[in-house]
Structures are given as C-alpha cells and as structure tokens.
C-alpha cells in the first residue's frame, strides 16, 4: 500500500518534471535563437570562403528551419535517450555535444567537489557552534564574516587570492621567516577564536587564551627555526600524537569519552598506525601507486572493523562506527604526511622551481609524469586557490542555515525533555539536536550538489579551468545553440531530479512528513 503510493508519487513527479523540462527548454531555445545570428560574423566577413562556410553550417545545424520547429528536431535527438540513442547534436566545430560535455564534467566535478564538501563540513560545524554559543563574541564575528562573504564577488576574491595566496606566498617561501608582528597577530587571532568557542568565563577564560597563544607562537617559531616550511613532515612521533588526538576527538563526538571500549579500540588503531608508519612509507615507493592507495584504504577499514569487533563485547555497531571513522581520518593524516614528505622533492623540480602555488590552470604540463605523489601534489596545488574561493563564497550560506535550524531545534520541547531526564550535554547535542538539524540540511545539500555542476562558471574562467562553465561561455559567445542546450539539458535535469530526491529524502528522514499526501 505504502509502496504503491510512493511509486505513484514518484511517477507523477517525474511526469511533471518532463513537462517542465520541455517548457523551459523550448523557452530557452527560442530565446537564445532569436537573440543572435550564428552566421552574423560570417555575413560581414571579407573571407572569400565565408559563403562556403555559411552554406555548410546552415546545412549541418539546420539553420534554414525556423527556431520553433528546429527545437523539435533537437528534441527528437534528446528523446532518443529512451531508446538508448541520445543525440544532443553537434557543436559549430562539428564535435558531438555529448562528447564535449562528457569531457568537461570530470574537470568541473574535480573543481567543485572538494570545495562543496569543505563548505558543507566547515559551514555546518561553525553554524552549529555559533548556535550553541549564541550571542558570544564568536557568534557575532561569524555573523559578520558570513555577511561579508555573502557580499563578495567571487572574481574579486579570486584576484586577491592570486596575489596574496599565490604570488606573495611563493615569494615568502623563498625565505620562509615569520616576522614578530605576524607571529603575535596569528597567536592573538587563534586564541581569541578558541577562547570564545570554549565559552569559559573568568580566570579559566584567561588561562585558555594564554595557553593557546603561547602554544601557537612557540610552535610557529620552532617550525620556522627548523625550516619546516621547506621540509615539512610529521615524523612518527607527531603522527602518533595526531592519531591519538583523532582517537579521543572522534570517540568524544561519536559515543562519548566515557565509553572506554570505544576509546580503547580507537587507541589501538592509533598504535597500529604507528607500527605501520615505516612499512607504509616503503609501500608508497612501489609502482602503481593509485592502486596501492586504494588497497591501503580498504585494508585500513577492514583492520578497523576487525580490531573493534575483537575489542567490543556489547553495543558493537557504535564502536565499529567510531573506530572506522577514526581509522579513516588517521589514514588521511598518513597520506598528508606522505605528501609533506614528497614536498621538498616537489618544489625543487625544474617545473616548479620553488614557486609551488600556481595562479591558473588545472595541471603543470612541464612536470614529468610518472611519479604519483608529485603529480598528486601538483593537482592539489592547482586546486588550492579555486577551492578556497568557492568554499569561502558558499560556506556562508551553510553557517546561517545551520545556525538558524540548530537554534530552532534547541528550543523544542524534546530537547528540554532530554535534558530533564539527565542525559549528558554531549548526548543531547549530538544525538537529539544535531541529528534533527541534519534533516532540513540534507535536502539543501542535495539541491546544492546538483547546482554546482553548472555553477562554477566564473571560477572556471578566473582560474583558467576547462569545465562546464567554459563550454557554456563559449556557447553563448559563438551562438552555439546545440552546445548551450546541451549544457542546459544536463543542469536542468539534475536540478529537477535533485529537488525530487530532496523531497523523498525529507519524507524518509522525517516521519512527520508524508510523501504524496494530497499534493
């Protein structure tokens, strides 16, 4: 009964989706067609071959058919999708639109994927912290920052990033010394943030401020003294400390530090990570590194599962979950350490020549291929600036939304009940408040993910990436109708499907909402 109603709902929505897509593509097709002449440039051209090109273009793109009718020719190709023969037409240069899009998608995904994940994780965590510390200095500062980020044009940020994060940073790296003023101001800013988030009052507040400040300044000063910025690395000792920190942190957030079994299981993973430190370094020098990294990820997860199953007697699911998350993060730290270990070799290559952060492009073509770690570093370095720009712009929205939702949830009666029955603050926040905050957030995330495929037009242009945005740009500039419609077909379909998925997800997560009731 329930299933059939859900199916009917989905079918009805898919039907509407088709009608809407038909309508908007018809509108866009005609709007784009009447607004410009694809042969305009050729008409005024002095080139003797112009006439020949015009004739052949007219034949290939069927320009002799009036646009409203030509639309249906295009539609016939698209509807070929259902018989497994999708035809989006050809671009002006004769290439298949489908091929052009297929080759652009990976670039765009690479560009926006990290940025969106970062924006979500950072935005949601900061939003929730600001909600928990409502009206604190941190809350006010973050409100201001998010408004500021809302108001920034991305191309403006991009130019600043190129100047200060790439050119100036590269200059700095040639003689990496931190001036006393910079050292003190970094320390002050960091300790202000930490003490405001900690939310302690009185003497404790000053203690936190002081210790964070001293810690930051001493660490930075030491790092600079040992020339860490040119030869970075964690080494086995600090790697182990980082792993233990992860073990404590993940356990606290996931099941609470009081759960000794979970803590024991995560700490054992940290010990295993330490034991495997040198063997993995050896393994990272073998051929076929891509495969080895994947294999090691699988190995890590399965190790974590088996260790936690051995240690846990009761409540196995929660402990396995905790250990797997912790082990995964330890693996990431291990990769980071390996990248750091490669860093000196990377920046001293001829292609890089001690200027590691590039301002444009998606890869350094001068770099010799073959070394997995060096090309990974190169890829990451090319991603840094666009990722920062995209993250900065989009995470402001998540902060505001997560903060608003969390505040609303914290005012609910069930939170009061949870506190009244004596649950710890951690349980109330992580299990009762946070999970309910995620329901509306999850639907936004789905819609956003679909939107970013076509959404990085400006970023791609500023940083010289060749993805969907570039295709779209080219399509408009050269009146390439088929290409424009191809891009639109993909983004429009994705957006509508994401909306449908978001609705279904919402009803799956929130039992109060019934799918297809009435509507």
């Amino acid at each position: 009964m329930e299933g059939s109603r859900l199916l009917a709902f989905i079918m009805r929505r898919l039907g509407t989706l088709g009608v809407i897509l038909f309508g908007s593509s018809f509108l866009l097709y005609n709007l784009a067609a009447i607004s410009g002449d694809p042969l305009g440039e050729l008409r005024i051209s002095q080139d003797p071959r112009a006439k020949q090109i015009m004739i052949s273009l007219t034949r290939e793109l069927q320009l002799d058919v009036p646009p409203p009718l030509r639309y249906f020719l295009w539609l016939r190709g698209v509807l070929g999708l259902f018989v497994g023969n999708l035809d989006l037409g050809n671009t002006r240069s004769g290439e298949s639109v489908a091929t052009a899009i297929a080759s652009a998608i990976p670039t765009t995904v690479r560009l926006v994927f990290t940025a969106s994940i970062l924006a979500m994780v950072l935005g949601i965590s900061i939003g929730i912290i600001t909600a928990l510390r409502q009206y604190s200095k941190f809350d006010y500062a973050m409100t201001f920052v998010s408004f500021l980020l809302f108001s920034l044009p991305i191309f403006w940020v991009a130019v600043l990033l190129k100047q200060f994060m790439a050119i100036e940073f590269n200059n700095w790296l040639s003689a990496p010394t931190i001036s006393l003023t910079a050292l003190v101001s970094i320390g002050v800013i960091l300790s202000l943030i930490v003490s405001s988030v900690a939310g302690a009052t009185g003497k404790k507040n000053y203690t936190i401020f002081g210790s964070v400040f001293a810690g930051t300044v001493v660490t930075l000063w030491t790092l600079q003294k040992i020339n860490w910025f040119l030869e970075p690395g964690l080494g086995p000792i600090f790697f182990f400390f980082a792993c233990v920190g992860i073990a404590y942190g993940v356990t606290q957030l996931s099941v609470g530090i009081a759960n000794k079994t979970a803590l024991k299981s995560s700490i054992s993973m940290a010990v295993i990570a330490l034991i495997l430190y040198y063997p993995t370094r050896k393994a990272f020098t073998f051929d076929k590194q891509g495969l080895i990294v994947v294999a090691m990820a699988i190995l890590t997860i399965s190790l974590a599962v088996s260790v936690s199953l051995v240690i846990a007697k009761i409540d196995k699911a929660a402990i396995v979950r905790t250990t797997v998350i912790a082990a995964f993060m330890m693996g990431l730290v291990r990769l980071l350490d390996q990248l750091m270990y490669t860093w000196p070799r990377f920046i001293s290559t001829d292609a890089i020549n001690y200027r590691p952060v590039p301002t444009v492009g998606q890869a350094n073509s001068l770099l010799e291929p073959g070394d997995y770690w060096i090309s990974t570093l190169d890829l990451l370095m090319h991603l840094i600036l666009p990722t920062i720009a995209l993250t900065a712009i989009s995470f402001a929205g998540y902060i505001r939304f997560a903060r608003g939702t969390m505040l609303e949830v914290l005012n609910q009666d069930y939170i009061r009940t949870a506190r009244a029955k004596g649950l710890s603050e951690r349980t109330v926040i992580m299990r009762h408040a946070f999970r309910n905050t995620l329901i509306p957030l999850s639907t936004i995330i789905v819609v956003d993910f679909a939107g970013i495929i076509g959404g990085a037009i400006i970023t791609e242009r500023v940083f010289g990436w060749k993805g969907m945005g570039t295709l779209f740009n080219a399509a408009i500039n050269s009146f390439d109708l088929n290409l424009l419609m191809g891009v639109f077909f993909l983004t429009g379909t994705l957006a509508l499907t994401a909306n449908l998925v978001a609705d279904l997800l919402y009803s799956a997560l929130d039992p109060r909402i019934r799918t297809g009731a009435g509507a």
């Binding site: 309508g23 709007l31 809302f150 991305i154 400006i458 408009i476 424009l484 983004t491």
Partner: protein, 355 residues
Amino acid sequence: MSTSREESMQNSEVSLQDIETEGLSQSQIVRKRFFHHRGAMVSIIFLFIIIVTVFTALESKIFGIRIPGWWKYTVEDLPELELGVCDDGLVGCPTLSLVPSFLGGDGIQLGEHPFGQDDIGRDYLALVMRGAQRSLMVTFVIGAMSGVIGTVIGAISGFYRGFIDSVLMRFTDFIITVPTIIIGSVIGFHFGNLGVAFLAFYLGLFGWTGLSRLVRGEFLTLREREFVDAARVAGATNRRIIFKHILPNAVGIIIVSVTLLMSGAILLETALSYLGFGVVAPDVSLGSLISQYQESFTTRPWLFWYPGLFIISIALSINFIGDGLRDAFDPRQRRRITKKDRKNAKVARKALAHK
C-alpha cells in the same frame, strides 16, 4: 548547570519582552526593534550616504533639465595623466589621503584624482561613480520587479489554492529550472546594448521565484487562521481579505526576502558584467570595471580596489538591513538581553510590586 541558567534566563526574557512591548501596536514593536538593531541602523545610514554621494556626483539630466554634479570630471573627460605625484614611478595613482598631517600623512584631502586615473587618464572617481549608479539602479529595479511579481504570484496561488495554485507553481518551477546565470547571460549578451534599464527589467522578470514560494507558503498558513474566518463571516470580499487581513501579516517575510534578493542582485549584475554579458562598453558598471582592469592589479591596484569596495559596501549594508528587518519582524526572535534591559526590568518589577 548551564541548563538551569538558560532556563531562568528564558523566563526573565519572556517577562522582559512583555514589559517591553506593553501597549504597543505590531508596527510600533517592529519599528522599535528595528531601530534598536545597531548593525542595521549603521548600515541604513551608510547606504543612504553612498546612494546620495553616488547619484549627485556626476552631471545628470532629468526631464531635459541639466543638474550639475559635485565632481569636476565626468566619464567622458580625458585629463592629462598626472605625473610625479606617485611613488615608484607609477602614473595616475590616487591622491586621496585620509591620514591627518599631524600623524605624518598628507592631511585629509581629496586631491586632483582621489581614486586615481585609468590607463588613458580618465578620472577613476567619475568612472566608479557612474558604475555604482548603474549597479545600484539594476539592483533596485530587480528588487522592485521581483518583489511585485513574486508577491502577486505567491499570494494568488496561496490564497486560491487548487488548480490555479498548481498551474502557477509549475510555472515557478519552470522558471527555476533555467539557471539565473544562464538566462542572465543570454539576455545580457544579446540585450545588453539596449541599455542598463532594459537589462534590469529582463533580469527582474526571472528573479522572483524564491519569493513567490515563500509568499505562497505564508498565505497557505494565514488563510486558515481565525481572523480570516472572522473576516469572511463578517462578509469581507476576497480582495479585502487579501489586502487588509493577510498581506499585512505577510509583509515582514516579503520585505526581508526582497532585501536579500537585492543584495543577490548586485552580485548577479556584477558577475554578468564581469563575464561581459551585462553592462557593456561604453557604459560601465562596477563589475565591468573590475573585469576591465583586473590584469593591472600588480601595476595599478587602485583600479581594482575601489569598484570592489563599493560592491562590498553596498551588498554588505543591504545584507545587514535585511538581518535587522528579519529580527524585527520575527515575533519568536529573542533579542539579546543587555545590562540596561535587566536594570529597566528590575525597576519595572519593583514598580509593579509597589502597586
């Protein structure tokens, strides 16, 4: 521990708020709350100053009457490139100085070219003012048009429901499907040369979708409320119910989202102009200025800084005004309780106890 503190705070907040709003009408409460929002008040004054400065800077024509601007240069003027004022052999750098002379600066003065000159010597202050005029105009036109269209469509579909609702909402979905930047580019690229007002008009035709959904939702809830039933029983027409009973209750949400829509509009306009699809040469907007001069960031950074500062100032103040409005219109919103409030509440409680 923190729980009990919070709860006692909540109780005192409720009583505080009751005392604060005693004997005031809804609009008085909203106004009072808005005027107490410091960020919003600062922003509204700031934005007002920007608007007045920008629109009176250059000579303008209204109905054929020439009104001279306060700035000596216009966009068309081509003064000589100033040599020798700048350090490092730069040409045409800004003469604006904000450091007073007793602090070792050149004193507070505008100088010949406060924002510097561009590569052919045009006065950059005049260019930025013209650009800001264009951007502000586009922003307000988009805000006004989207506000009207969104409200009308949302109100009709929320109030009448049924078939009209489905048709209008599918129409909204249909407009949403076309990404704003795509439609903006298609329109801007081909109609940009028809002038900035036309561009703004067309963008306004596509910017109302989010607002109409919000208004619809609000109308759907409000039409079920008792006061609407009461009005209907008293014999009010649909028109009267919509305009006199429901719309005043939905006006908060409309104002807030129009404000936020406007701050988005200025970014959309600058983004389109940046891509070359918005305001096109010889006309300038803040976005097209940045786009034109971004290559010269290392040699002439002022060509990049000033338009950007104007975009950020305008968008930031609109955002803060929107935030203040949201706080003012939201009845559930708890304002931060200041020390002064606590003192006032104490006085008020004592006065009550003495009665």
